[in-house]
Subunit: 260 residues, 2 copies
DNA sequence: CGGTATTTTGAGTATCGTCAAGGCCAGTGG
DNA sequence: CCACTGGCCTTGACGATACTCAAAATACCG
């Protein structure tokens, strides 16, 4: 986890968030003025289901989960929010899912009214928000393909690849292990949450983990950290080509291939 | 299907599309000037996988499907585009799925460059585009919940409810049947496509249809038109509350309740 | 060190995917 | 007008997979 004490001031911290670096200094300054850092403990509620989020948020550290509560009380996770992800739907009504902290988390909060006002007169900010939403749309479609796979091992393989590609630059999630020949993933959510995310049960998930390990594709170091040894085998099991398309993930595969 | 011959001119036709009614006359006029109506036959390709769409499109009539081709050649449908839906990702790179006509379809096509230029100086258009994207994001999340259900009957129930709520105002899809006590849905895609959309197989889908019929929830008039008799039972099987939240769907349920 | 929560394992059952065959409908050609 | 053909949907039987329930093992935390 990034040490919060390292953050000298808000402006410099905001600038390093994905996307925000492209903002004008003036815009960034205004944003800074209206921002506050909120902290949440794991499983604390950030925004309730069915009501508009009280503020526009941007994750600074940790993970949030977006989840729907189904009629039978089960909870279906519809996505994760990580460092740099925005939420709170500017311009739009309430979102119909709850947001909770999946781990201890820190969030930049912008009051809705001034944020939307700034949005209206700062095209650069608007661009950032638009890209953020389209990014989320892409990710939602990725999840759809993964979740609609019919084998649990396939869904898990897809999830691991998403972890590799979308979190490639977040080093406390993804590390090179085995002297660079494999990747080491810290899974940020519990088995139970992961099961909900993939639309399955913890028991099936556990078996899937060990099935992948038996095939030599991964190695389970502890319940929440695994090494990926064969990225392409995972892609094959996941069925989705695009999960391999992230540039640095391809690079990592090539590194592994050279050593083989 | 709306008769195209009814469309006197492009501007008045554009204005009636969802969202576009909010545009200024001046913006609408500019849009009109850069638009062309394209027609597609069922299963014709609109945009290829992995390349940026040649134009920004807006569906005028019929259905398009967005689909990914998986490594094993199977096709996974990740969403449908209906009347009023936009596609072609202004500002963004290529989308990583193909778009094909699911039925015969008509599409308004705007050349990318002038469209983006207009977007940059017409805040009202920008708003429409932003809302369109957020709408799509919401729908993608809805699909995720539906598709991740573990029973096929549940997925099908969810699909039928989505048909009822998101297409409520499109009368050639959704009609009141049985003197208003039930809804009649024309399913716009083949069983095969629907199976791909729900992440299952045509055989399982067929069984699910008949299981719902045996429970008295629906009645199959023909393979592509069904009557919904018990909306709440479907919602219960689908598990997702929000699918019932559309205002007019709730109203229809209440009508049904009063008659019971 | 003990208590709790999480994860894993096991056995039994239900569901679904698979393969194969049959039925229905529309379009074609005799 | 009718037989034929091809596509799509349905039905049946079987095997594989995953869910359920229950219990054991492990990790976590004080």
């Amino acid at each position: 986890m990034h040490r919060f004490s390292d953050v000298r001031n808000i402006a410099s911290s905001l600038r390093h968030l994905r996307g925000f670096g492209a903002l004008d200094d003036a815009t960034l300054e205004e944003l800074t003025a209206m921002s506050r850092l909120r902290r949440y403990r794991a499983s604390q509620v950030v925004s309730h289901d069915g009501e508009p989020c009280a503020f526009i948020g941007c994750v600074h550290d940790g993970f949030l989960r977006m989840q729907k509560t189904l009629v039978d009380g089960r909870q279906q996770i519809v996505g994760l929010l990580v460092e740099g992800d925005m939420f709170g739907q500017a311009f739009s009504g309430p979102h119909h899912f709850a947001i909770e902290a999946a781990t201890d988390a820190e969030v930049w909060a912008f009051d809705r009214a001034p944020f939307e006002a700034l949005l209206a007169r700062a095209p650069d900010l608007e661009r950032v928000v638009l890209l953020s939403i389209m990014n989320e749309l892409d990710r939602a479609r990725d999840w759809m393909v993964i979740v609609s796979g019919q084998r649990v091992t396939g869904k898990l393989a897809g999830f691991l690849l998403v972890m590799c590609s979308t979190f490639a630059e977040i080093d406390h999630i993804l590390k090179k292990g085995c002297d660079g020949t494999c990747l080491e993933i810290s899974i940020p959510i519990s088995r139970n949450d992961l099961a909900h995310l993939l639309g399955t049960r913890p028991e099936s998930l556990s078996r899937a983990f060990h099935a992948l390990q038996d095939d030599g594709d991964i190695r389970i170091l502890s319940p929440d950290v695994v090494q990926v040894h064969d990225v392409e085998a995972l892609a094959c099991k996941a069925g989705d080509d695009d999960l391999l398309s992230s540039a640095n993930l391809r690079a990592l595969v090539q590194v592994a291939a050279r050593r083989a």
